[in-house]
Symmetry: D2
Subunit: 333 residues, 4 copies
């Protein structure tokens, strides 16, 4: 019997990452086709990776009866539309985050997926990171007790260009959305209230584009846990990705990963490595693991580890966060 | 010429700490008299420490022309009254925190001190802690750049009895007040807005006493810095006292002190020490250093390192924090 | 133009590791044939990995004119013989460590390689480990100054079976040989004197097999650096792989890698991860990187990063170490 | 009843340290007299510390019937002679290390002490250090199992002047003697064999003075433990004082103490504190604790924690170490 065939829609950075994960680590799966609106990009990558077919039209993938599952790695504004079409075509779907910036559109996707009875996994890869997964495991052992306070630090090494900011949906839907997912993943409960302190401190151009670049977000969960996320679009020392979970029996926390453990001591002081530079360096293994889990869910008809609801909820929280900044008050969900 | 003579009002735990600091580390100063409403306590301590006189009436100290300075270490509700009287008696004053739970009374003290022209230092000892002082020094070098986000973690190892909670003025004025001072000390600016998420998670008796035991406090400073403090009345692993300061050029953070650096690796894992147990273990050196600075200010007519305004501001913030919890909204100062 | 074709001799654990490195990370190279004395092992792996041919006779690889390079991953006692034949067949060679336990045989290999003018790289993969490479880079910047003392800790998580010990050539040639290479790599000088303190502390069966399982090895280098290696066949907490380099201007040291950075604090203490379990977990990336460098040397006619001399010298040191234990004295090289 | 009275012989650095420990921390003891060959030094210190009497003749202390115990803090070459006289005068003795550089003289002291039936404690203060004491405690719980390898790192921040080196007895008796004691303390067994690799790498003047400044010392203990000590007279980054104990069930290790836990992360990297500068900074608390234990032993007739034998053995090891360097071979004890 042959390998399961999949198609990748979008040959940008993340589409490339997923195609490498599949080729190097998932021998049961074959990437048959890759599509991109820029046909040259698709062709070049297909050639390099020995992918049979390249196309500029993702519908060729959806219409291919040999293909069982699709990875939607195109631009954010196309995720919802393609997801709906893919569900209708009976394909299992791995969709990059965010599913959409509009709550209604995400809901439409979930509806279509439900009707079609296909698998639908959202690309919240950080759940698969070795550090955060370990935190979750420790919480699940009960060693931290009931959760009281969860702190998430999430800072990028460099701000995106203002052009990107304008179409990004704003920091909360573009960047914090990962942290909202992390909070839900770790706490295992839902947000009922959001309060945000935000500012433009990194780059005035971001402010001119109508967004913020620095924020502290307070979330109150239905189980009583208080969560606080702090974000910055620019940490001079690199990608800062940490969590600390405090509960009735203790706390668990994770530090950043570093390129090496080397520590140099001289007359001037003690020097060690900065965090791994950005998400490709830090999270590469998690991209592989989320893909393995998705393929396992499809091949063996298991539940996906990150569901459509997991795709929807962070959008709701992100929208509330935005409103909290605009209105300067607490928003209930 | 003889030593400068001082009196200590209150022979409880903190009064004893200060008397030891003076006897062991400040040879230029002699404790002439110690007072306590429980005369036996005062007498016993005086005997043990070779302090000449013990009394149940602090006014004997205020009326003693040989005494130049007093340490007010009595119960919180007496701080303001004694401070005013001491100022009127022309004594230099070291007053334990908080000066009072009422803003008006604190203001009355500042007025009396100003009129008398005496030194007045408030006992925010954490400013003198080796870790926090180092953070401040690094901020002052400019290596962190403009401050964007300041995070303060402050958790006690065990909650106080409900009896104490009832008269404590509430967690924000009793415990967080140190953190408000730390925030002002590190940021060097004033709070303009307070938002608090709080809950009773540690002990229902604290809730019944009308207080909270778990909180995340957001402060917005006039210079644009966002500060977030997280508090718990009970950290199972001990006294958790950390700060992290994030700015345009980097971050500086401090970890807890531990009894030893020992690390044991076995088949079961890697084990290391919990933080030093509580404030006497963690902050002993800082008590010595604040006392040295106070005596230096008095002996050499220098400015005190923690002023009356530094005593007042945290009370204002604490009152606002309480109001934020009660009204579920942001409070402007 | 097609890919460069290589053959792998030996389909055991390390042969499999190298074949995965090539297939997943070196698209310019194709594994044409894999051989193993157990033909079923070779066939099964070939099938799983899409390797065209499997054989029980490595000579088919040596005689294949399409094949440019071979990886010698068979049992240690065959390395030298196959290396000589491969050189005579004009193949570039990557040979696992140790090249041989006999100095004469290693020298014969080097001679054959020299005559044939082929590339010859020895599998000292630890040079490619992210931590040790970083140590080397820091030494090369001059920040440590002249080297005075180098300390290498190398402890296995579990002892090999006594059966293996009997044919292993002894701990110094089987296990410490990696540390001898590390010492030469970091110090960049040659050993002139060896002194060993050794004992049987882990397993009496190892002693009965004529070997030791615990040792501290002192090496004096021609440049004056003193190196001390400590070995154990069994560290209860896992694979312990560290170095510390101390010089006139400072020191650089590396800690073990861990599965995660999670730290759990409870009433009982602070718990963190043990080191990654063994060499496959710890050194996987280094196996990839040594293979990349070998292929790059062959494809682009560059010098190999670990030479035949690098294969010979540690054998000489290992033989001296053995002698030092037997005679209870310092051995000069 | 009055306080126990003691005399301090030698008002140099360590005599001052001990007098402060007593005055600030041991209220049961009074320093009646301090002596120093430089009478002005003794007088000045006596005045500053409110010590009743100062003298240039230590015999006044020995002849004073009110004095129960003496601290011998004079120059090393006088320790043995004064110890014998003090024993004969019936005084309990705390003697700084080393007791003497000559084995015979140390033995004579032990003999005199035994005859007089007085307490005799040697100033190996590091046993009282919080880190090393914790290591010992963990060993004693059995969690490390049988000891296999013990590693001690002991490096000074700056070399002594060559003048001092000439009269110091050499690095092994002057500096390593502390490490020999630490090894015996932790392992709880005796050295049977010594091998040293040593060199002059820090300062040629030290070589010209007939000493070494860099060494790796191997000790074999009667219980089978192998111990390796590494010394340098100059670590550019400061005082480096660590141990690692490896056994059948795990390892325990301690890091250096630092002035603060502050960690600064910037674009350039992550910076943290160097170790505490030198022994006064690092070991101050241990000096207090050894003094408390000595006074407790005298006052309550308990055994001293560091005995005369503990004073003798390291001298024997040090002499053997010297011989090992001179003869380039292993020395048996």
């Amino acid at each position: 019997m042959g390998k399961m065939k999949v198609g990748i829609i979008g040959a940008g950075r993340i589409g490339k990452v997923h195609s490498q994960s599949i080729m190097n680590h998932i021998p049961e799966v074959e990437i048959k086709t890759i599509s991109d609106v820029y046909i040259d990009v698709a062709k070049e990558w297909a050639k390099k990776m020995d992918i049979k077919e390249a196309t500029s039209d993702y519908k060729e993938i959806l219409n291919d009866p040999e293909i069982d599952a699709v990875l939607i790695c195109s631009s954010t504004d196309t995720h919802a539309q393609i997801s709906v079409e893919a569900a209708q075509a009976g394909k299992h779907i791995f969709c990059e985050k965010p599913v959409d910036l509009s709550v209604e559109k995400v809901e439409a996707v979930l509806e279509a997926v439900k009707e079609a009875g296909v698998k639908f996994q959202v690309g919240f890869n950080r759940r698969f990171d070795h550090n955060f997964r370990k935190v979750k495991e420790i919480i699940d052992t009960g060693k931290v007790g009931d959760l009281h306070i969860v702190k998430i630090t999430s800072r990028d090494p460099a701000p995106p260009p203002a052009e990107y900011v304008k179409v990004s949906g704003g920091m909360f839907l573009d960047m914090t959305i990962h942290d909202f997912d992390m909070a839900r993943f770790l706490i295992g409960s839902e947000v009922e209230q959001v309060f945000v302190s935000a500012a433009v401190r990194v780059d005035p151009a971001i402010g001119e584009a109508g967004d913020v670049d620095t924020a502290v977000i307070n979330l109150k969960f239905t189980d009583g846990t208080i969560c606080v996320i702090d974000n910055s679009r620019k940490a001079a020392y690199g990608y800062d990705q940490r969590v600390e979970v405090f509960g009735s029996k203790g706390k668990v926390e994770v530090a950043n990963d570093t390129p090496s453990t080397a520590m140099l001591s001289t007359e001037e002081g003690v020097f060690s490595d900065k965090p791994k530079y950005f998400f490709l360096e830090r999270y590469m293994d998690s991209f592989v693991d989320e893909m393995k889990d998705f393929m396992d869910a499809v091949l063996n008809d298991k539940p996906v580890p990150v569901t459509g609801i997991d795709g929807l909820k962070p959008v709701l929280i992100g929208v509330a966060a935005k409103k909290s900044v605009e209105e300067g008050r607490t928003i209930k969900l």
